[in-house]
Symmetry: C2
Subunit: 231 residues, 2 copies
Amino acid sequence: MSKHLPATVGRRARGADIDARGQLLDAAVGLFAERGIANTTVAQIAAAGHVTSAMVHYWFDTRDQLLEAVVEERLAPLFHAIWDAADVVRSAPLELVRGMLARMFEVTGRNPWLPSLWLREIVNEGGLLRERALRHIPLGQVGGFGQNIARGRSEGEVNPDIEPLLLFNSILALVMLPQATAKIWRHINPTVTFDRATLQRHVTALLMHGIAAPAAAAAGRLQHRKARARP
Amino acid sequence: MSKHLPATVGRRARGADIDARGQLLDAAVGLFAERGIANTTVAQIAAAGHVTSAMVHYWFDTRDQLLEAVVEERLAPLFHAIWDAADVVRSAPLELVRGMLARMFEVTGRNPWLPSLWLREIVNEGGLLRERALRHIPLGQVGGFGQNIARGRSEGEVNPDIEPLLLFNSILALVMLPQATAKIWRHINPTVTFDRATLQRHVTALLMHGIAAPAAAAAGRLQHRKARARP
């Protein structure tokens, strides 16, 4: 499931054309992430992909076909790369989350356009890939993830205040939003040198242990209990 | 600092007009959050605020003046409500974070339009309030927050893998993104009944302790150390 055959939408490409068509899709996702789909012309995509506009029109009769191919051949395989390896039935909850995190950072490292495209065109109201992309979310796996966390909670492995159905959303927010908005933060504070390895370490620590240092964790938990015990 | 005088931009309103002008700004932020600024007309704002389009034009000569008033009189006071009470110099790091969280949930509870407007018009590339809103971020407090966390880290209170300069970004992502995107999640899984109190409990738990249950935390940390110790 993690490898999709190319050319499932629009005209099929043969031989060397397969590379050119793939380059074109790579150019398209890069531009869409940087400028937004609505602000990108076919001529710009063609130029960035080193082909003629005529070739783009030959492969994709319509803009819709191009967007469909971007989702089928560029986005969906990444959803699969993140979810397919998750054993939501047998993994211990903490290992499940650790594995998801590692794959999400691996995937965004290899496809640095993903967080911006996700924010602009899927998360946003009016995002032009939202409906198409949501169809490719592996709902069975997402549901199984929630069940795994719920099971871990009832078995005492997961913090009882963690909400199983909100956790994947939280992970997505922690991993994707800072990568999608790195430009703003650099604008506010140019001394912040954003790098993916630091973010990964930070997000992993946050999810696994929260902000408290191991040594201070016990004291923190005690205070927390006192705070919750107030009427 | 947390109360701004009304009518700092555009024509001043007097007497009963102050209420009408305030209602208009409330209507504007609601529509901007729901439909986006680019998709909202003056006529729609006037109708939602129960005034005539002529009154809108009287108070705000230009669309720019209206946007400036929205930022000055609706957004900036909320930034202050979140940041002004933070004692970034003297608070213990965990209490500082707990206080920020409580105020962020309090502010988004009273102003449910805020997360969508934040996502659409500030976070987004091309967001029409971005530049204006960024000018109102209390940079001194944000910097002090980072220093507080860094100090907590060097004093052993904060997890050494937490990155002080990324933490506020993480908190913002955890609190705001799920509220701004609640619609998508309901679309994917209609059984998720999203409520703010559950999100607050979940995010607070995540930040304070991570996903591991207190009982399993020690074992989890041990595994974590082993994983990190691998060559």
